[in-house]
């Protein structure tokens, strides 16, 4: 079975035409004065999905989350949760809870009291509150810290208290605003997996806002890439990486080589793209690019091979160049190869073995090669 990326997903309600979306943004626009934070945006999120909103700061992703939580109302359009229009419902009556970027733990309350806060507002019986708090402490492995105040906890522990507090009420949807932004790199990587496990365990719908693409790729079932208040692409991490829909998405997620050119001919699903400076390549995945149109061939560095000998497979694209820069990173080596027309192409090679029989050095003549289906042709 062929598939994009390296994982097989069994949970994919977005491919099921009968599945009912759980959260729907319908032509939502949000303006602050003259500034348009979110522009006529539509989006569907399914139950139990781990959904990530990914974008640079100021792209409107946080505004989207705040509208869902009820801190901001859309200027136009509507937001539906489980079929119910959320307009006019204040944050304290919405069945969603949020985990804040700063965690927003109440500094004057113990860990226990922080977790119990939401339950008390519901008017839950005292015994039930105690039971639920104990359950939550166990979930985040903080039983021993129940009586501590937030300032007596480390960053990772605070993050877990914030999570426990926001899921204590068993919300239908949990919103996470840069949930791991305040943690250091190592802790962040561990916590990513913890969060995924907890989402599975609780069976909740998670909507997470992040600017960290690795975080989004690791955790999310689907990612919405946002730019200037609009959604550029909504897809699984593998699709976003291997089949970006536009130059912006290709450039935003991971490293990419963008070979600009025009389609000089197409037959049997294979296009010839010429950059006008003597470089012509064959490309599959041409989509709706018509002959004569300006396109970009986007190809990831790890899909390009570099060698000192010319590969003799006639099916692949081979271009001659010169090694311009080398970065040895341990697990892989990145080569910058300057082609005859002056453009520099990045290629990375996994150092799968310790010893190589084709070592390259600066200013070597070298050949880059890639299969026609190793990249995608982008018209936007």
């Amino acid at each position: 079975m062929k598939s994009l990326g390296s994982i097989r997903r069994s949970f994919a309600p977005w491919n099921d035409p009968d599945a009912k979306p759980y959260i729907v943004f319908e032509n939502v626009t949000k303006r602050f004065g003259d500034f348009t934070a979110v522009n006529n945006l539509s989006l569907k999120i399914y139950e139990r999905e781990f959904f990530a909103l990914l974008g640079a700061s100021g792209c409107g992703k946080s505004t989207l989350l705040r509208m869902l939580a009820g801190f901001d109302e859309p200027t136009a359009g509507r937001i539906l949760l489980d079929g119910q229009d959320l307009r006019g419902i204040p944050p304290y009556r919405r069945p969603v809870n949020m985990m804040f970027q700063s965690y927003a733990l109440f500094p004057h309350m113990t860990v226990e009291a922080n977790i119990a806060f939401g339950l008390k507002q519901e008017g839950m019986a005292k015994a039930d509150i105690e039971k639920r708090v104990a359950e939550m402490l166990k979930l985040v492995k903080l039983e021993r810290f129940a009586k501590r105040k937030p300032h007596q906890l480390s960053g990772g522990q605070r993050q877990r208290v914030a999570l426990a507090r926001s899921v204590a009420k068993r919300p239908k949807v949990l919103l996470l605003d840069e949930p791991l932004g305040a943690l250091d790199k190592k802790l962040r990587e561990e916590t990513q997996f913890e969060l995924m496990d907890q989402q599975q365990e609780l069976g909740l719908t998670f909507v997470v806002v992040t600017h960290d693409q690795e975080e989004a790729m690791t955790m999310a079932d689907r990612i919405a890439i946002m730019d200037k208040g609009e959604v550029m692409q909504v897809a699984t991490p593998a699709e976003v990486y291997e089949a970006p829909s536009s130059r912006f998405v290709a450039g935003f997620v991971g490293n990419v080589n963008m070979i600009e050119g025009t389609v000089s001919g197409r037959e049997n699903g294979v296009a010839r793209i010429s950059d006008g400076n003597g470089l012509t390549i064959k490309a599959e995945n041409i989509g709706d690019a018509a002959a004569g149109s300006a396109v970009a061939f986007a190809i990831r560095p790890e899909k390009i091979k570099v060698s000192s000998r010319k590969p003799d497979d006639p099916g692949v694209n081979v271009v001659e160049g010169e090694i311009y820069d080398i970065a040895y990173l341990g697990d892989m080596t990145v080569y910058h190869v300057k082609l005859a027309d002056g453009q520099v192409v990045k290629a990375s090679a996994l150092n799968a073995s310790r010893i190589t029989d084709d070592p390259l050095t600066w200013n070597d003549r070298a050949f880059i090669s890639f299969r026609p289906d190793a990249g995608v042709v982008l018209t936007r």
Binding site: Y92, A104, F106, P107
Partner: protein, 273 residues
């Protein structure tokens, strides 16, 4: 080491401290003077402290001062806090600049002017001068100090705390009392203490707005001093100094201990204990 005690350093520190504290030390020493003459030492005695407590006038004045300070500080704290919240939270209402200017004007207004204008107002509306008018006057001028203190705390207040409370189901009023108020409480308490001490030692405004039967301690001391300083006054001042010093020392000790505790807690947390 750079921190050597050069003669210059020693001299400047000694002179500086002497300039600040010598008058107070002299006042304290002469409060234990046997003689009735303030400037002539005639042996140690505590008799002026005894006679102080039988001086009805001074005791009454102290009592009036205390009540005025307690009441005015409390009301000023409520009003000042409300003003601070309005000014930090509702940043776009009409006349905000004017309002904030009016709230903070008494900070820079000469006391004589505040006192005189309040006097004119009380006369104009026919309010008899006395306990009520002093208290009102003190509320008016100390409110802005509370507002400044509370406002500076609110500016650094993390609004997401309130959002979190609302997100967890607390309506705005509950959010205010369960989250906002406890978090800014230390600032409100300092505001109250500031208002309290301002009211305690105010002479100018009290002189304008007070009436018969509502003489405050500073007024009383001032009027007695005009007839000549008695060691009794020295004794009264020494008690005031002692009370203030004890308060300051206690507050700083508590702060210090809390700081040490906080550092220890944080270290413990970092070690992942």
């Amino acid at each position: 080491m750079n921190a050597r005690w050069s003669p210059f350093n020693v001299a400047s520190v000694t002179l500086g401290l002497a300039f600040l504290y010598l008058p107070i030390v002299i006042l304290i020493i002469f409060s234990f003077n046997e003689s009735r003459l303030v400037t002539v030492w005639a042996g140690f005695s505590t008799k002026w402290y005894v006679s102080l407590f039988s001086n009805r006038g001074l005791i009454d004045a102290a009592w009036v001062t205390l009540r005025v300070a307690l009441i005015s500080a409390s009301i000023a704290t409520v009003l000042g806090t409300l003003a601070a919240i309005t000014l930090t939270r509702y940043t776009r209402f009409r006349g905000r600049v004017l309002f904030s200017g009016m709230v903070f004007a008494p900070l820079v207004m000469p006391e004589v002017i505040t006192g005189l204008s309040l006097l004119l107002l009380f006369v104009a509306i026919g309010l008899d001068r006395g306990f009520l008018t002093v208290t009102l006057a003190h509320i008016t001028f100390s409110m802005c100090f509370v507002a400044v203190v509370v406002q500076s705390r609110l500016l650094t207040f993390d609004r997401s705390l309130e959002e979190a409370a609302m997100d967890l189901g607390a309506p705005p009023v509950k959010t205010f009392f369960q989250v906002t108020l406890p978090v800014i409480l230390p600032a409100i308490i300092s505001g109250w203490m500031l208002a309290f001490t301002l009211s305690l030692d105010d002479l100018v405004i009290a002189s304008f707005t007070s009436g018969p039967g509502a003489t405050t301690l500073p007024m009383k001391i001032y009027s007695q001093v005009r007839l000549g300083v008695t060691p009794e006054i020295n004794a009264a001042c020494t008690i005031l100094i002692a009370v203030v010093a004890l308060g300051v020392i206690a507050a700083s000790l508590v702060n210090k201990r809390r700081e040490i505790q906080r550092l220890r807690d944080e270290q413990m947390a970092q070690r992942g204990a």
